[in-house]
Amino acid sequence: MRARTGVSGVAAVAAILGLAACTGGDGGDEPPELGTVPTVKSSADLPTLPMEQYVFSGDDLRTYTQAGAVLSRRCMERFGMNWISDEDATRDLPDLTVDPTRYFTIIDARTAREHGYGDPGADGGDQQEKTGGSYEPTAAERSVYDGSAKDVTDTAGRRLGEGGCAAESDGQLEKGGVKGIEPLKVGNEFYTLYGEVQRDSRVTEAFEKWSECMKKEGFSYATPLDAANDSEWASGGDTKAAISVATADVACKQRLNTVGTWYAVTEAYQRAYIDEKAEHFADILATKQSLVKNAANVIGGTA
């Protein structure tokens, strides 16, 4: 009896551990345990998400992009050709990190009052003038760059390698990194978790409370995402109606700490996903660090 109980106990523990191992990124039944739930009254209160350490920062991306331009030009010049300048290459770089003001829909009361659901960073218009670069490569230059040019030799008589100057630049930047990692697209990996988090009971409960709060304010939305994506805002998220809803939205989130819960569950899922794929993320981190180091050496003139 005792022995049988012991075996059952071991089996039960194993089953629990098995369940625990299935949490987070692969859609298991047991939701990951929450860490600290922050009180989020504004975007400044949001701690950094676990994914951020794997994503290029603004400075990383600038260094990496500039080094790519330096190496590309260095190669192209050997073939008597020009290529994109550092200034052109780095003029229009994105921020690849999570935008704390918009990842969990609108958070800041002032933004809600002034812009509703509109994006304050939209610069007043969707269709912008193309800025253009001061240098636009010719078709011949592009063919040397991408390696499609045939029978081309450089000033030393060496033939253009496979993949052209793009591949040559890559080879120098990627020294010491892990093949197959696409560092600029690491953020794409976390998309499926965004949906899983919204199905987590702790988030659905938080959204239900938020929805009740919104109802008291006179608005009917099941979730903050429904409010942010209301088709009424398609022609402009900064209308009077949008500002009214956005202001109530933020007030309810603050009152109920909706974003604090949403953040904590997101943090837990990301942590579990990263733990589950520890080797993959170790490769990503090593590759990112190696690329940035190589890029800094190129810009510093030591590579």
Partner: protein
């Protein structure tokens, strides 16, 4: 709409690292040419598209510099975008740049009737 997004997220769970590569040089040292957003007004989760090497779009939209699709998880999900490296982006309802489309935009805060309907894009 949200439920549909969740379902797609589940279906796309096996394609986590896929896609996002525009049809350009096969280099890994990439340039970001576009970021797509799950929500309108550039909110929520993002999907980054890159082109190989140090590159950019040309100064006109009369040519097509790059094209891309989406991973299965991101098919019919995006609601807004921003273009980079001098790229304007034209989004399409179907894969392979087919079906209904919107004009080229550097940045657009809502696809309107094409919200959660976009399956491919052209960059110019």
């Amino acid at each position: 709409m949200i439920m549909r997004k969740m379902a797609a997220a589940l279906l796309g769970a096996t394609a986590l690292t896929g896609a996002g590569l525009a049809t350009a040089a096969p280099a890994q040292a990439d340039t970001v040419i576009g970021i797509f957003y799950l929500n309108s007004n550039h909110g929520g989760s993002t999907y980054t598209i890159t082109a190989g090497g140090t590159t950019s779009c040309t100064t006109t939209t009369t040519d097509s510099n790059f094209t891309s699709g989406f991973s299965s998880a991101w098919n019919d999900q995006a609601s807004s975008h921003r273009g980079y490296a001098n790229c304007d982006i034209k989004v399409y309802e179907h894969a392979g740049q087919g079906g209904a489309s919107l004009p080229y935009y550097t940045s657009i805060s809502s696809y309107g009737v094409l919200n959660d309907q976009v399956s491919s894009a052209r960059y110019s």
